[in-house]
């Protein structure tokens, strides 16, 4: 049988189960929260940008003086903005309903706006291929006599549309009637006058897309939806800062808890350490024994915390963004570093206590 530092450590941890467990739990919490936040942080940009895509277009392309755009403008915008951008063209006309009320009618591509404006509240979307299908804004629906046979007159031409569903956004859209672009053009003779684009990614990516659009579509006005682009950028930055602060705050809180646990661990074993000193144990050996314990608990905390934190990140992501976040091995070194830092900082005070032990007085029971 051999008596080694490792065997002493094992016995010591097992002997003081409650205390060791309390330190392990504190370090697991620290590592778990750090893992969860860092995992989410790594995925945050993609997740937030995905969320912001739900708010609709962040770039608008219009004619120089509000005139109609060229026939192929939607295709050219799509090509310049990139394949991952969502593009929808709109043509507008003011028609009169069968109740004699003027209403804005918009021609568009329903499949495109369904993706572009996924935040819209629509009870039923028109099916592709239905040439006379219409989507009625909540307020616009009040201007027509029969939603299933919406009669509209524009420049003396009448069209009858079949209202498929109602639209509620709380904005101007509620006062409009949307219909397929081809039927709109055939009825009014008007073409696409506005192309709305949703460019995925942050402000820099949007700016780059705008630059490409300006080059590809000279003479057209290309403008960002400032509130959205800047708001997105601001929210992403603030969320980053918030997560950093949360990690630091939690690390600090856990640090205090680990400090208390490690201090108590030294205080309750100061006679054991004093005895070891009296038996010839050097300051280095005693520190080694104590710090090895802190290191083992810290590594245990990182291992358990990584598993718990990854699960937590998965649950948060699933619950808030609707998509799972897979564990990231890349956060492990950072979590390890953070936990070791917490353990080392928390060990400073107990180490001072350990250095100042007076074996004779302690062993005498004074």
């Amino acid at each position: 049988m051999k008596l080694t530092m490792w065997s002493m450590l094992r016995r010591s941890i097992a002997h003081r189960r409650a205390r060791s467990l309390s330190a392990l739990v504190a370090l697991t919490v620290s590592a778990g929260v750090a893992t969860a936040l860092l995992t989410l942080y790594a995925d945050l940009d993609a997740k937030l940008h995905h969320e912001f895509r739900n708010f609709g277009a962040n770039v608008v392309v219009t004619g120089a003086t509000g005139a109609s755009l060229p026939l192929d403008s939607v295709a050219r915008v799509q090509a310049a903005a990139g394949a991952d951008a969502t593009v929808a063209g709109f043509g507008y006309a003011v028609a009169t309903t069968d109740r004699g009320t003027e209403v804005v009618v918009a021609g568009t591509d329903f499949s495109a706006i369904k993706r572009l404006d996924s935040w819209w509240s629509v009870d039923a979307w028109p099916v592709a291929g239905e040439a006379d299908a219409a989507l009625l804004g909540q307020r616009a629906a009040n201007f027509v006599a029969d939603e299933h046979a919406v009669k509209l007159v524009y420049a003396g031409k009448t069209v009858t549309l079949h209202g498929v569903g109602r639209l509620r956004t709380g904005g101007d859209e509620d006062s409009r009637i949307y219909m397929p672009m081809a039927a709109f053009t055939a009825w009014t003779g008007a073409r696409v006058s506005v192309v709305e684009v949703q460019v995925p990614g942050g402000a820099a990516k949007v700016e780059a897309a705008i630059a490409r659009l300006k080059t590809a579509l000279p003479g057209l006005q290309v403008a960002p939806v400032r509130q959205l682009v800047e708001g997105e950028s601001r929210i992403v930055d603030r969320t980053h800062a918030l997560m950093y602060a949360a990690v630091l705050l939690i690390a600090l809180t856990v640090g205090v808890s680990v400090l208390a646990t490690l201090s108590a661990s030294v205080l309750e074993r100061r006679r054991d350490f004093a005895l070891m000193k009296a038996l010839g144990g050097s300051q280095r050996q005693l520190m080694g024994l104590f710090l090895l314990e802190a290191l083992v608990l810290s590594l245990g905390g990182v291992a358990a915390g990584y598993v718990v934190g990854s699960g937590l990140a998965w649950a948060i992501s699933e619950g808030n963004f609707g998509t799972a976040t897979l564990p990231r091995v890349g956060v492990l070194p950072l979590v390890l570093l953070l936990n070791l830092l917490v353990a080392v900082l928390a060990a400073i005070l107990p180490v001072r206590v350990l250095r100042g032990l007076q074996p004779a007085a302690l062993l005498k029971g004074e």
Binding site: M1, K2, L3, T4, M8, R11, S12, A14, H15, R271, D272, A274, L275, M276, K277, A278, L279, G280, G281, S282, Q283, R284, Q285, Q358, P359, A360, A361, L363, K364, G365, E366
Partner: protein, 255 residues
């Protein structure tokens, strides 16, 4: 005091040692040793110019009331502290000349501690507690540790935890631990203070055996009967050594 203890006293081989021999044989020599501490109310002199020597193989009792400086003296003799004045030589080495690391090594080599409260590590077995002293001294040797426990009559209790041993047995583990590295000096601080009469006798007999085998024993005690077992007493009061009959009989040196 039990009969066994009286037997120990009776068995002491007395022999007067001349002053010159005493100086040559001194394993512990204090010359004007002072220990001062800085306190809130100024400097506190815990030990005041203590001068005495202890020769190899001698059994000395250090007595005195609480606050007399016994702990300070044990601290210094055990190399757990260094004097602020005077010279303390152990086995011919001035402890003041040793660096902290050297002092740790020196302590492990020269001093075997026996404590009133035994101070066994609660999660280590009797055997491992003895091996702990080997661990901090050099390297562990299970056979030697077992032999040391057998020597103190605990050959069959080696794997027991301290909580499974009686007070007397714990003190015997403590003695085995003190002896395991074969140190020239045994420093016993109230070795029977926590024991009942039967166990006191066992420990006193054990110390007597060690003394007969040539070990130098420095024993701090409040117990006049235990102090009576020693060859001479060094009394302390208010940090001063006031009684140390240097010409007292000592055992024949057998180291």
């Amino acid at each position: 005091m039990a009969d066994g203890v009286e037997k120990v006293v009776a068995e002491v081989v007395e022999q007067a040692v001349p002053e010159q021999t005493r100086a040559e044989c001194a394993v512990i020599a204090l010359d004007g040793v002072t220990r001062e501490y800085a306190g809130h109310g100024g400097v506190v002199r815990a030990l005041d110019a203590a001068t005495f020597s202890i020769v190899a193989g001698e059994w000395v009792a250090i007595t005195g009331p609480s606050g007399s400086g016994k702990s300070t003296l044990v601290n210094l003799l055990g190399c757990l502290d260094r004097p602020t004045g005077g010279s303390l030589k152990i086995d011919g080495v001035d402890t003041a000349s040793l660096a902290a690391k050297e002092l740790d090594r020196f302590r492990a080599d020269k001093i075997g501690f026996i404590f009133q409260q035994f101070h066994l590590i609660p999660y280590l077995s009797a055997l491992e507690n003895v091996m702990l002293a080997q661990y901090f001294h050099s390297m562990t040797d299970e056979a030697e540790a077992r032999a040391a426990l057998e020597k103190v009559g605990l050959g069959k209790r080696v794997s027991h935890l301290p909580s499974e041993l009686s007070g007397g047995e714990q003190q015997r583990v403590c003695i085995a631990r003190a002896l395991i590295n074969n140190p020239p000096i045994l420093l016993a601080d109230e070795p029977t203070g926590n024991l009942d009469a039967a166990n006191q006798a066992i420990v006193a007999n054990l110390l007597g055996d060690l003394h007969r085998n040539g070990h130098t024993i420095v024993m701090v005690t409040h117990d006049p009967e235990m102090a009576g077992l020693a060859q001479r007493k060094i009394a302390l009061s208010h940090g001063k050594v006031f009684c140390h009959p240097t010409g007292a009989p000592v055992v024949k040196l057998r180291r």
